[in-house]
Amino acid sequence: MNLYKNYFPIMRHNKSLAYLDNAATTQKPDMVIDAVAEYYKQENANPLRGLYELSQKATDAYENARKKIAKFINAQKEQEIIYTRNASESLNIVAFSLSDLVLQADDEILISIMEHHSNMIPWQQAAKRHHAKLVYLYPNEDGIITTDELTNKLSTKTKILSLTHVSNVLGAEQNIKELAAIAHANKTIVSVDGAQAIPHIKIDVQKLDCDFYSFSGHKMYAPMGIGVLYGKQEYLEKMPPFLTGGEMIDYVDEQTATYAELPYKFEAGTQNVGGAVGLSAAIDFMESVGYDTIIERETALGKLAGDELSKLPYVTIYGSKNPALHHGVIAFNIEGVHPHDVASLMDSGDVAIRGGHHCAQPLMRYLKCNFCCRASMAFYNDNEDIHQLIERVKYIRSYFHGA
């Protein structure tokens, strides 16, 4: 077992497992699991308005985690960090509240056909609510939205561009900085779905110059139930709140309420302090490993898997031919075997991959495959995991179609 796997209790308990479904959720290292447990053992209380020591500790834990997240993605101010449950909720907040702020009838929202359903259906709904139009960008063969494609689709009516940073099927990374500059020149607000990017790439929201950035803790070694919405203060301040109640208000009378300042305005009800502590520990963990190591290992693993799968004539790989451009995500099909059967037979060989539409049905139809298998790597995977995958591909093919 490689040294990195050793940080993960679930790996220690499943030595023969090749866990290659990291794009769905990552496993959690000891230090994250322990940090959450310690929080509940030492400093649990309802944060923010408590006037006693434990509540102060809980508030500190909660706000220090926010500071760490702000620093991690280089947000200018910690008030720009809103805690959510997951990337889906972050994206929903943008689609609800930003739309309420800026959308008029006949305006246009621009998203790509590659979006995860969580960055697509909220916009379908927003378009319906505001009688706006949802317009699609289509990628080139490498899964990239070109500047030409964007320029062609932008119009004076395009108020919002919401784009995934890294596709959860093709692994393709969009050049957000370049696209955002074009959009901004058109007065279009830019929201980015970073769920598949932040586990693999160092994020600097100021450099990207996006207006919103959404991600989930559970895909970056943190517990489930905690996510983040980064938003530029100028927009967050003007947007109406989304969920209401709890700590997000200042004054309430029978018919009206005024809202608390950022970031609390968007955080209704008792927050998940344990989750915030876990996310903070996950950031410490990632920083101790280092993005350099993460990228180096994941690129090597992706290359190995891509090279080996390419050798098999009955395997189709989706997206770029260059495995380095996949950020550890490889979507593929074995000719003549349904992805669900592949995934089940992978499981019986102790390989965990996903088979299905990966919450990206329109993309699947665009790729003309409806369903596919997806192996997705984290830096803790190793060459043995990949070999196990490849052996299993060969076995499944021969099991269905003879040697």
Partner: protein, 160 residues
């Protein structure tokens, strides 16, 4: 690892060489929906869909005098749903409507793990090969798709 033995010889045989994957009726648009025009007195057509995994089958049955004379299917899906459909066809052809409904009920209970009595399950014959799918709930829907569709067709038929 419970699924290993799901992909057994019986399932693989029915998947590779389905005896009943063909058409009973001629109208080509029977494939896309329940189209009354292509139902003769005897032939019933129904489409079954498993939205979560995209399996789709079109089931056709020929019922005469309360006896299922023939079953055929078309559509795409995983080996589990394809084989399960073919196995079902083998089992219910020649049976009465009531018997067939009983089989479908029993099968659905088996793959949901609600019926484990070996003696009772014996009746299901080759369909027993799908028993262990109960350990993999994510695949249960694939296995029951055809059985569920047939069950609906037959209970609808009985009501009319």
């Amino acid at each position: 690892m419970a699924l290993n033995n799901i992909y057994n010889d019986i399932l693989m045989e029915h998947n590779t060489h389905p005896d009943h994957k063909h058409k009973l009726s001629n109208a080509s648009d029977c494939q896309t929906a329940i189209n009354p025009q292509c139902e003769s007195d005897a032939i019933l057509v129904k489409k079954g869909i498993n939205p979560s995994c995209g399996d789709e089958i079109v089931l056709e049955i020929n019922v005469e005098d309360g006896i299922i004379k023939d079953v055929a299917f078309d559509g795409q899906g995983c080996a589990v749903s394809q084989a399960s459909t073919d196995i079902m066809a083998d089992l219910v052809i020649g049976k009465t409507i009531d018997e067939a409904i009983e089989f479908t009920d029993l099968f659905i209970k088996m793959v949901r793990g609600e019926e484990t009595d070996e003696d009772k399950l014996e009746e299901l014959d080759e369909a027993l090969a799908l028993k262990d799918i109960a350990h993999m709930p994510a695949r249960v829907k694939c296995a029951v798709l055809a059985w569920h569709t047939l069950n609906q067709m037959l209970t609808d038929k009985q009501k009319n």
